[in-house]
């Protein structure tokens, strides 16, 4: 043996390559280059050195007689040598057979986005990211390749290998990469939990070298983009009087003299504000030959555009990895604290939350009344009970605090150079405490709360996972072989309790002070999962690629006989461009790979303990002496025969690069067939169950194509890149329950009939609506609209009322006349990102949108109803009258005998949109100006988020993304909305 020294440099630039790994092939001996690209190592002549580094192509060098050695590495082409994180390991992108979408940390620019998922919108093909509203700190709904289940359709999230419920508390600046596993081959190793896709988040690791300190700061301001156009006091009174006159009812006293009312209160102005936000992130990272580390801290403070609301997040994160001899140990820890101040969900009236109430509140009423208990005025008299939104915001304090721990530790032992054993331990804990304090009040005549009340709830989500894996990797000549076997266990516990008391002294908001207990509850849910997993990846001569994996899961949620599910997958790839017959020059087609995969994934997202019939307690009654009589009985049926929901996925894909890798393309076609759908299929009401039992009752097919295209080039001093994504997914319900069963959803208004229906042969949550045919202009038209037996189809109609289509021809208008009117899922969605760099300036644009989806505008249904006493949309000024007949707005009439305001196609709108989502202009200060200040880099930027949206949708924003039931998706419901804001921000990114 002798000691050699060496240097690794980059081809072309001769820059030293720092952090490259030099390994003596077939041994565990190795070294890593320092900042100057240098290393030293003990070798025997004839040893082969394997030199590798991220972003470079690997090289093999044979040691000769020399004592110094110079190795030149070539930059790898177009990221195809990038390493992609797959389950329980990594694979080079060129060897990949599955469909995985990857986003690097650098692509997640701050953008003023406060959470990671928001930054993902439109950037990954096949991954739909929908806003759950503009509520600061609100999560997003992420759907990977459509909706294949009626239950929890969220993907499986793993942060540094640990399963978490969501990733909203991860600072965007802490992310190294995000990989979304989309097809069965990629996700199958996660078996039972992977049917909705898998999102792998890898946080930043340190790199070998001196410490790097980075500091990012962002300050922004947010504003409401669009108000609902509703009437002022005088206009409202005019429409209200018209509606009462048409109904033959006395006018309201408060509307008696429209001309004296003026504008009245603008309730929307009263609740919206320009809201500030700030974010900071400080990180330190670095490493030596043996240990790498990364620490960071984050702080995020965002006010909501609705007064009072806000979100704060604090977090620290650390990650280290140490190698000594055969042993590698590592750990990561993320601690976060999130504090929300939320707006009330509503006070039981028909206005809903403050956003809904602000549009429905009659402008005649006042905001304040200093003589009232609580200090607020509000609706009174014979009007609909819509609560003063300002009073709601200020009289009820709702806070939610979440403390989260995500911890991960692993030890990896290299048994043989090819064989590694890894033990991985993951732990997450989320402590959620919720406090809701309502002051005593009398708000107008319709809302009163005689005592100060407090409700508190706490939830804890705890997950422990342990994984043992053996990994074997060896190359034999042209054969490359990698195998994985493992055993995994996880236990998930959810504990919750809630208590509420009434009659607290003024100014005190702790439970001890309450006089009356109004509610106490608590429960615990536990589930366990044990799994065996295995995978083989084989490639021959970089031409033929094969991946096969298998996972067997056992879940406590199923009855003993149905506990285990088997989830196999197989995938193959062919690098055509590596074939000898390939004659196209890299100048035209530089790479071409075909991929195909097939596999089965599972889903067990339904209630714990569902297989045993339970006795429900606390279904109480009153006994003869008027005290509480505790009740308990079985109220629902159990589901003892449930088995796993299975999703069979076929994927065909192509990866290609053209023009010396300037242009890259990835495209996939997939088919996801979900069978034995875990579903609450309605059973007959006469069976007497209080809720429908889960059954394996359906079959959904999702088909789609998705595409990602990138182009990079340089023209003079300007370098630019363009990146586009496109996906089109269609779902179809092939079977549901016993065949004729339907699942209704999407209630659009407080009392309105459901807008969506899911049934065999249709789409999930398709809009089924009675069709509006316009306005009856005359009594003759009404009299001429007859059923087959000569009866009037709409006998209660008067001129100016809506004509509805009697689709089933039974001579009457009912829900049996509903027709399939469209889908809440877009025909396609797209994203387009453009980055330009010139001199020291950089410009980033991001555009995204959807096409072909419909939205049911529930709030408009209320506001254009003119049948009840709350405020109306401005469009109602154009209501039909005998002298104003050229209009599509029916006549105003209280009590609405013709049901003009019923759930119908009148309120279904085109939901397509195109959004200029992000515009960012940055300037990087030239290094020479920074040297004296010992600053490595400094960038400052201006950013605008949600700059403008082109859409025909009349509501607040077209990406309504209701986060509840998937069956409500696409229905804009005023009770729960929170409009999106436009954000302008400035920021700096500093590196020492």
């Amino acid at each position: 043996q002798k000691k050699i020294t060496g240097k690794v440099t980059e081809d072309g630039t001769s820059q030293p390559v720092f952090g490259a790994s030099i390994q003596v092939k077939g041994t565990t001996r190795g070294a890593i280059t320092d900042e100057k690209g240098q290393f030293s190592l003990s070798v025997n002549p004839g040893d082969k050195l394997l030199v590798s580094s991220m972003e470079f192509e690997s090289q093999e060098v044979t040691v000769g007689a020399e004592n110094t050695i110079h190795i030149v590495l070539k930059k790898s082409t177009a990221g195809l040598n990038e390493v992609v994180i797959i389950g329980y390991g990594t694979v080079k992108k060129k060897d990949l057979t599955g469909s995985i979408a990857t986003l690097k940390g650098g692509d997640i620019k701050t953008e003023g986005a406060s959470n990671v998922s928001r930054a993902l919108q439109g950037k990954l093909a096949g991954v739909t990211v929908e806003a759950a509203g503009g509520d600061p700190g609100a999560g997003m709904r992420i759907l990977v390749r459509g909706v294949g289940t009626f239950n929890n359709a969220n993907p499986l999230y793993l942060v540094d290998g640990v399963q978490v419920n969501n990733i909203n508390n991860i600072a965007p600046g802490d992310i190294e990469s995000m990989d979304v596993l989309k097809d069965a081959s990629a996700a199958a190793i996660y078996g039972s939990r992977a049917a909705n896709g898998v999102v792998l988040v890898t946080t930043k690791s340190g790199k070998n070298g001196p410490p790097v300190i980075q500091f990012n700061a962002n300050f922004g301001s947010q504003k409401l983009i669009k108000k609902y156009d509703v009437l002022n006091a005088q206009e409202w009174a005019t429409v209200s009087n018209m509606a009462h006159d048409n109904a033959g009812l006395a006018r309201l006293d408060i509307a008696a003299n429209p001309n004296q009312l003026g504008a009245g209160t603008d309730w929307q102005d009263a609740i919206y504000r320009t809201a500030m936000m700030q974010q900071y992130n400080l990180s330190v990272s670095g490493g030596t030959e043996h240990t790498r580390y990364s620490f960071s801290g984050q702080y995020n403070d965002q006010d909501g555009i609705v007064d009072v609301t806000g979100y704060k997040r604090y977090g620290i994160r650390e990650k280290t990895e140490t190698t000594k001899g055969r042993l590698k140990v590592g750990q990561s820890l993320i601690l976060t604290r999130e504090n929300w101040t939320k707006m009330p969900g509503g006070w039981g009236g028909q206005g809903g939350n403050p956003v809904g109430s602000a549009v429905k509140m009659i402008p005649v009423f006042n905001i304040y009344d200093e003589n009232a208990i609580g200090g607020y005025s509000g609706a009174s008299g014979p009007v609909v009970n819509v609560a003063n939104p300002v009073a709601q915001l200020h009289l009820e304090d709702i806070t939610t605090n979440v403390t989260s721990i995500i911890a991960n530790a692993f030890a990896e032992l290299t048994i043989l150079p090819e064989l590694k054993y890894k033990f991985n331990l993951g732990y997450t804990d989320a402590f959620i405490s919720h406090k809701d304090y309502t002051r005593r009040y009398e708000v107008g005549g319709l809302f009163a709360n005689p005592t100060n009340n407090l409700a508190q709830a706490s939830n804890r989500y705890n997950l422990v996972m342990a994984e043992n894996t053996l990994n074997y990797a060896k190359d034999f000549g042209k054969h490359s072989f990698q195998a994985l076997a493992g055993y995994a266990y996880q236990k998930y516990v959810r504990d919750s309790s809630a208590s509420a008391k009434n009659d607290l002294a003024d100014g005190i908001s702790e439970l001890d002070n309450g006089a009356i207990i109004s509610a106490v509850s608590g429960n615990k849910l536990v589930s366990t999962l044990v799994s065996l997993l295995g995978r083989v990846i084989y490639s021959y001569d970089n031409r033929y690629l094969l991946t096969a994996s298998f996972r067997r899961d056992g879940s406590s949620r199923f009855a003993p006989a149905y506990r285990y599910g088997n989830f196999p997958s197989i995938a193959a790839g062919w690098n055509i461009s590596n074939e000898k017959f390939w004659s196209l020059s890299p100048a035209s087609v530089s790479m071409l790979k075909l991929r195909g995969s097939y596999g089965i994934l599972g889903n067990q997202e339904f209630d714990d303990y569902g297989y045993a019939a339970v006795i429900n307690s606390n279904i109480n009654y009153v006994n003869g002496n008027q005290s509480k009589w505790f009740g308990a009985i079985q109220t629902t049926y159990a589901s003892p025969y449930l088995k796993w929901e299975n999703t069979e996925t076929v994927d065909v894909g192509i990866d290609a690069a053209f023009l010396h890798d300037k242009l890259t393309l990835t495209a996939d076609y997939f088919r996801k067939n979900t069978t034995d759908l875990l579903l609450k299929v309605p059973i007959p009401g006469s069976a007497g169950s209080a809720a429908d039992p889960f059954v394996n009752g359906g079959n959904i097919l999702n088909k789609g194509v998705e595409m990602g295209i990138g182009y990079n080039d340089k023209v003079g001093a300007v370098s630019y890149s363009v990146r586009g994504t496109f996906s089109s997914i269609k779902n179809k319900v092939l079977a549901l329950g016993t065949g004729t069963q339907q699942i209704a959803g999407g209630q659009p208004t407080h009392h309105g009939a459901d807008a969506t229906l899911t049934q065999a042969g249709g789409e999930i949550a398709a809009f089924y609506l009675i069709k509006s045919l316009g306005i009856f202009q005359s009594q003759e038209e009404i009299d001429a609209y007859k059923g087959k037996d000569g009866q009037l189809i709409q006998p209660s109609a008067k001129p100016g009322d809506i004509k509805f289509f009697d689709a089933n021809g039974d001579g009457t208008i009912s829900n049996a006349d509903r027709l399939d009117m469209g889908s809440s899922f877009p025909s396609f969605e797209y994203g387009l990102g453009i980055n330009l760099n010139a001199y020291n300036f950089d410009l980033n644009l991001f555009l995204q949108g959807t096409q072909g989806n419909k939205i049911y505008n529930g709030l408009r249904q209320d506001l254009e109803g003119m049948n009840l006493e709350y405020n109306y949309a401005r469009t109602t000024l154009n209501a039909w009258t005998p002298t104003n007949t050229n209009t599509d707005m029916p006549r105003a009439v209280i009590d609405d005998p013709n049901f003009n305001a019923r759930t119908s196609s009148r309120f279904l709108e085109n939901g397509s949109y195109f959004r200029f989502k992000t515009l960012q202009l940055g300037y990087t200060v030239p290094t020479r100006l920074l040297e004296r200040a010992k600053i490595s880099s400094l960038r400052a930027y201006l950013s605008a988020d949600n700059l403008f949206t082109i859409t025909k949708y009349k509501g607040f924003n077209p990406d309504i993304g209701r986060s509840g039931s998937i069956l409500d998706r696409g229905v804009d419901f005023g009770h729960v909305s929170y409009p999106l804001a436009r954000t302008l921000s400035v920021g700096i990114q500093l590196s020492l």
Binding site: V383, N616, G685, A687, S689, S796
Partner: protein, 487 residues
């Protein structure tokens, strides 16, 4: 990890395996069955149920705030009406629970008499739910067993007469073993009263008279309260006139819409829904002027308006106050002359809160069966047999409490029935009887047509006598067929 890793026991709730061990389990199961009568969405004496049972009468108006209510009250309802579906489903929930008690009570090992009494109580509850189903829906499925396998979910309907037979069987068997007193719960008197009512509804007047007559003598000592209004107030609940009532009190949670859990109020929000907007009510309903006028047809012996009119309605009369406000503080919204006062908490300042803070909670028990009903049903059963003379005393008892004079002697069957019909209309206004009375008298068409009821022109005789089988039942139950008139 061993195999046991996946064997977890539900830590929150006991299962059917561990229940049915003690008498208190049986009692809890009964509470869970009784409680459905006040269910907000479908209990016949919960909010929607009261609106449903009254809404179709010629004495009742419901506005178009909740479309499903307006539709049923104006005879424009369709099989997907959520309110009639709610009542249908809740009855079957109660039947499912009553059947569980009947099948499991023997597992507890109670003394024979106790066990029989619990079985009788469960049969009363089941019978009352079938009574609600048959009077509202006609032909319905009869279920007397708890489903075991999935196929058991699907049951075809039985003819109306078979459902009545089930009702009569349940009430007969219940009456045999129920105790005479069982404060706030089902009693022998309640079962006999409902049995008698079922016989009147099925026009078996001989049996009806026998059964109803038995309630006028020992061991029973029912009597009319001196003050009519005591039947609609909270502090005079479970009084001498009461055979069965739904127990309501603000002793539960605070939320009427919480569902069946600890947060659910144990009162109802009906009073709040019926109250005028001026006192935080939602003014959903109004009496018609036909009812207003019917009360004024006969004055008392001192030439005053019937005291039942003052207890039932509020209108613009000298000194009229409502919720501690003069009547002038209110505005009649719908062009009718009066509002409902019966069952309203009008001695409070408004209907916002219950005594324990429950939202809009009213604690006034809903009376299901009063002795006045027994007397008038008995008078009817006798009259219909031609025994008009025997009917007098029962009818006069009801009249006398209302301070009406002695009824002329020697009235024929028609005149006697006319008086009974008049008395029933005003005695039981807002108590969910009118529509069903008219139906069994065959007078729906006539009385709806001659009223000022909104939507009367859409009433189709025969069809609107019943609600359609809910569309959801038709869609989910392949064995179920729609009511002929609703096809």
């Amino acid at each position: 990890c061993s195999r046991d890793t996946l064997d977890l026991t539900n830590p929150n709730q006991i299962t059917t395996e561990t229940f049915w061990k003690t008498e208190s389990d049986v009692k809890s199961a009964l509470a869970g069955t009784y409680g459905l009568f006040k269910n907000v969405n479908g209990g016949l004496w919960g909010v929607r149920g009261v609106e449903l049972s009254n809404g179709r009468g010629d004495d009742f108006f419901i506005r178009n705030d909740v479309a499903a209510l307006y539709q049923l009250s104006t005879f424009t309802n369709t099989p997907d009406n959520g309110v009639s579906e709610g009542v249908y489903n809740v009855c079957y929930r109660a039947i499912f629970r009553a059947n569980q008690i009947l099948e499991n009570v023997s597992k507890v090992g109670l003394e024979a008499d106790k066990e029989k009494a619990y079985i009788a109580e469960a049969k009363f509850l089941r019978g009352l739910n079938y009574f609600i189903l048959v009077t509202n829906f006609g032909d319905v499925a009869i279920r007397t067993k708890v489903p075991v396998v999935t196929d058991d979910y699907f049951v075809a309907k039985s003819p109306e007469k078979d459902v009545w037979a089930q009702v009569i069987k349940d009430f007969t068997e219940a009456a045999a073993d129920l105790p005479v007193t069982n404060y706030g719960r089902a009693t022998k008197g309640a079962a006999l009263g409902m049995l008698g009512k079922a016989y009147v509804y099925t026009k078996d007047y001989v049996n009806a008279a026998t059964i109803l007559q038995s309630l006028t003598m020992a061991p029973f000592n029912y009597s009319l309260t001196a003050n009519y209004e005591d039947n609609f107030k909270e502090d005079t609940e479970n009084n001498s006139e009461s055979l069965f009532e739904i127990q309501l009190s603000d002793v539960g949670g605070t939320n009427p819409w919480a569902g069946e859990n600890a947060n659910e109020t144990l009162g109802v929000t009906t009073a709040q829904e019926f109250a005028p907007g001026e006192v935080a009510g939602w003014f959903e309903v109004s009496p018609t002027d036909k009812l207003f006028n019917e009360f004024q047809k006969e004055k008392t012996t001192t030439n005053e308006l019937d005291p039942r009119m003052y207890a039932t309605l509020i209108w613009d009369y000298p000194g009229a106050t409502f919720y501690n406000k003069p009547f002038t503080a209110f505005k009649l919204q719908f062009g009718f002359k009066s509002m409902f006062k019966k069952y309203q908490n009008y001695t409070q300042n408004n209907e916002l809160k219950g005594s324990k803070g429950g939202d809009y909670t009213s604690s006034i028990n809903e009376r299901v069966l009063r002795y006045a009903d027994i007397e008038l049903l008995l008078a009817e059963a006798l009259t219909m047999q031609g025994r008009t003379g025997d009917a007098y005393s029962y009818l006069q008892d009801v009249r006398s409490r209302a301070k009406l004079g002695l009824l002329a002697n020697g009235l024929g069957q028609d005149a006697m029935m006319a008086e009974i019909r008049h008395q029933r209309m005003i005695e039981f206004a807002r108590e969910g009887q009118r529509f069903y009375d008219l139906k069994r008298w065959g007078l729906l068409q006539q009385e709806i047509t001659n009223s000022d009821k909104v939507g009367k022109q859409y009433f189709v005789n025969g069809k609107h006598d019943y609600f359609p089988i809910p569309q959801s039942e038709i869609t989910t139950n392949a064995k179920m067929e729609q009511n002929e008139r609703w096809k």
